[in-house]
Amino acid sequence: MTIAVINYDQGNLFSIINALKFFNFDFIVTNKKTEIQNCSQILIPGVGAYDKTIKSLERLNLLEVIKKEAYNKKKIVGICVGMQILSDSGNEGEWTEGLGLIKGQVERLPTTEGLKIPNINWQKLKYNDQTSTYNSEMVYFLHSYFMRTEDKNIVSYINYGELKVPAIVKYMNVWGIQFHPEKSGKIGLAILKEILEK
């Protein structure tokens, strides 16, 4: 089982790589089509803007590869902006079409009493399945945009004022994590490990 960590020359890969090393996961850091095809799952890390991230992947000719592997039932895990680009579109920077693997749109967080943007906070996860081990655990968020998607795609969320902001989304073999599991202490690491091992 090898994880392809997509290197699109924008995200900070150091932290996510440290987290994978911490658990002795077998992984490669790559932007080569054949290497990605040969791996058993794909991890899209992310720091940066929606439009820039899509453009980087486009420039590296990776959009189609990722989509194709997702259709072939390979597990895809996106983190932060890597999660957001799994959606149909985003309006950060220029309006941009996403990978379209999870039905939804990425929008700016609404102005909300008592909360500032960017949302730089440890926040409490609420799982739709309340028996989840991680229900009510706190994890670290750092974002200004969020994915608006149907409830059935939402594994867990945070309350952001009146709004439910998705924390973990899933559609078939595609997973997205809005927060930074690699920066959320031991709980974050455990959540990441579980998703990668599922």
């Binding site: 932290s15 720091v47 730089i120 926040q123 706190m138 920066k183 031991k186």
Partner: protein, 254 residues
């Protein structure tokens, strides 16, 4: 009412491979090696850690790359690094060494365009404006100092923060120079003043000497996070002690 928890952030000021602690940014005492201290605070439930190279501005370079690289292998919470950052490539180097955010003071004041460019290049969420606020008693107002509080370019803290927010900073690390290392408590007046104009998260720093000081600033709700050094460096209290007390007082924390 805040709907997000206060973040508790130990701050490690580093000089030549050692964590040090000064008094109003002058004179320093050696505390210990950065890696061991950072690991200890991580295990003790720190929400983030700030590393500041205190002599970087003087020598024109940040020497924390090796420290961060080592620390980031074992510490999985957000790491902010500051001191002597003056080029886009300095930020790239730090971020690719394991830093999540960078704190910029001197070169943001001396070169506003650099701050703007940094926010555009890396995103606001990555760029922390570090402000060293010094009170002018006569004017009853605060000025933003540079070069580890050695220079006063004559810019009022309020004016500078308003401008920096327009330039795109995502967070403000606001330190009281007068209270630094004194253990006299946070300068509530300063943070109240800034709370009125800040539209990005503010981390309050300077003067925490007891759990009570921290309780006071948290209760005031004039900041979104707090940082501290002496209280943990000198083992006056652990982060868990502080959190326990805050929880008892119904302050929302992790």
């Amino acid at each position: 009412m805040k709907s997000a928890p206060f973040r508790l952030i130990p701050r490690l000021e580093i000089k030549e491979d050692f964590v040090v602690k000064g008094y109003q940014y002058e004179g320093v005492e050696k505390i210990g090696p950065p890696h061991a201290l950072a690991l200890k605070y991580y295990e003790d439930s720190a929400d983030e850690i700030i590393f500041i190279d205190t002599v970087a501005s003087l020598y024109g370079r940040n020497t924390l790359v090796n420290v961060i690289q080592k620390v980031a292998r074992e510490i999985f919470i957000p790491l902010t690094v500051g001191g002597g950052i003056k080029k886009i490539s300095d930020i790239t180097t730090l971020l690719s060494s394991g830093a999540d955010k960078v704190a910029i003071n001197t070169h943001a004041i001396n070169n506003n365009q650099f701050l703007y460019d940094a926010c555009r290049e890396f995103g606001s969420q990555c760029i922390v404006l570090s402000v060293q606020a010094k009170k002018n008693e006569k004017e009853n107002d605060y000025y933003a100092l540079t070069d580890n509080a050695r220079e006063n370019p004559g810019i009022k803290v309020t004016d500078w923060i308003l401008k920096a927010q327009d330039l795109g900073v995502g967070e403000i690390l606001l330190s009281s120079v007068d209270r630094d290392g004194t253990r006299l408590g946070y300068d509530i007046e300063l943070f109240e003043k800034i709370a009125k104009i800040a539209n990005v998260p503010v981390i309050a720093h300077g003067g925490a000497g007891s759990i009570n000081d921290i309780n006071k600033i948290c209760s005031s709700q004039f900041s979104d996070a707090i940082s501290f050094s002496s209280i943990v460096h000198y083992k006056i209290a652990t982060i868990s002690d502080i959190k326990k007390k805050l929880r008892e007082n119904n302050i929302y924390i992790r």
